[in-house]
């Protein structure tokens, strides 16, 4: 889901940088207001976890690869704004140091994976897990469903961004300037592979870690910014 340099035209790249700037600014303000100093290490662990989980490429035999993002978990623990900061840092390090995701596409990649993903995941978890006690299975299931849905929404969005490129940028002889695949290909492929395979990885990882932490350290969920236990 890391869009490389050259797949999105300047309009799309610029657009998402412009959209992300106020989001990053607002996220910093929220985090400043709500995050406790003792939660900072947990935020670092969250960012590192997201970074790590993205390195575990899952193959579709004979086809492509993909991965989970781990961002829904961070959102459930620390709140979506803190998760936005954590995933952004992971994505920027991946782009600058390892060339994973383009630098022109940092805005778009962060919009998909550091904004839409943690926010949709967080609110789905909150809706399904509403008022559930800490030891409730409903919370674990909510975490899984949130992970699955959020990753797929982010993947669909990525497919959409790929897919509109041929509409936006073409040479005189009809060749694409950037991503050559239109919505009719990019959208179903990105959605399909995540619905079938990678979404389940995000679901299982999110549910298992939430289950473990609810048992081992329910106090983490009661912190500010995240979604407290009843």
């Amino acid at each position: 889901m890391h869009i490389p340099d050259g797949y999105l035209g300047p309009t799309t790249c610029g657009f998402f940088y412009v959209v992300m700037l106020p989001i990053w600014a607002f996220a910093s303000r929220i985090v400043k207001k709500t995050l406790d100093a003792k939660q900072v290490p947990l935020l670092a662990i969250g960012a590192a976890f997201s970074f790590m989980i993205m390195m575990f490429n899952v193959p579709i035999p004979g086809g492509t690869t993909g991965h989970a993002v781990g961002g829904v978990l961070v959102a459930i623990l620390l709140g979506p704004w803190a998760a936005c900061i954590a995933i952004t840092v992971a994505l920027v390090v991946q782009a600058l140091l390892f060339g994973d995701g383009g630098i022109t596409a940092v805005g778009a990649n962060c919009f998909n994976m550091a904004f839409v993903l943690p926010f949709t995941g967080y609110y789905i978890y909150k809706a399904i897990g509403y008022n559930a006690p800490c030891d409730s299975t409903r919370r674990v299931i909510a975490a899984g469903i949130a992970g699955y849905c959020a990753l797929n929404i982010a993947a669909g969005l990525t497919g959409f961004e790929f897919g509109i490129q041929p509409l936006l940028h073409k040479t005189a002889n009809g060749q694409a300037l950037y991503c050559p695949y239109g919505l009719n290909v990019a959208l179903p492929v990105m959605l399909g592979e995540h619905l079938l395979v990678f979404g389940w990885v995000e679901a299982i990882v999110t549910a298992l870690v939430v289950k473990y932490l609810l048992k081992q350290a329910p106090e983490l969920f009661a912190e500010k910014g995240g979604y407290p236990c009843k």
Partner: protein, 115 residues
């Protein structure tokens, strides 16, 4: 906090296991992620390299491209796995350092303003 320590250990285990994310795709003959092809692959897929892509693709030369050291591309899986683990370690180190830095800037331990 006891559990934070366990989580750090969990992360360390993930770093060591990272090459699974490299070896599994190789084993199952899975190619690049969709939409993350290099110029050569693009040539094969659609018959040409889009001009804009050609221009932008080389815009940034990452110090450790694709979690492998430069010149190691042909060295085989054991070497690449080693580079992958080191990359994971370096990446985590920098990510954690940046968050800690952001944390100290944003979240001041100002005792007067905290309840």
């Amino acid at each position: 906090m006891q559990v934070t320590r366990k989580l750090w250990i969990g992360l360390a285990i993930l770093i060591v296991l990272a090459p699974i994310g490299l070896i599994a795709p190789e084993y199952f003959k899975a190619g690049s992620a969709w939409g993350e092809w290099g110029a050569d692959e693009m040539q094969e897929l659609v018959g040409y390299i889009p001009q804009g892509l050609k221009k932008l693709a080389g815009l940034w030369s990452a110090p450790i491209p694709d979690y492998a050291f430069k010149g190691w591309e042909e060295k085989g899986l054991p070497h690449l796995s080693f580079a992958y683990i080191l990359s994971a370690g370096i990446g985590i180190g920098i990510t954690v350092a940046v968050i800690m830095l952001i944390g100290t800037i944003l979240v001041r331990k100002d005792k007067n303003s905290r309840k």
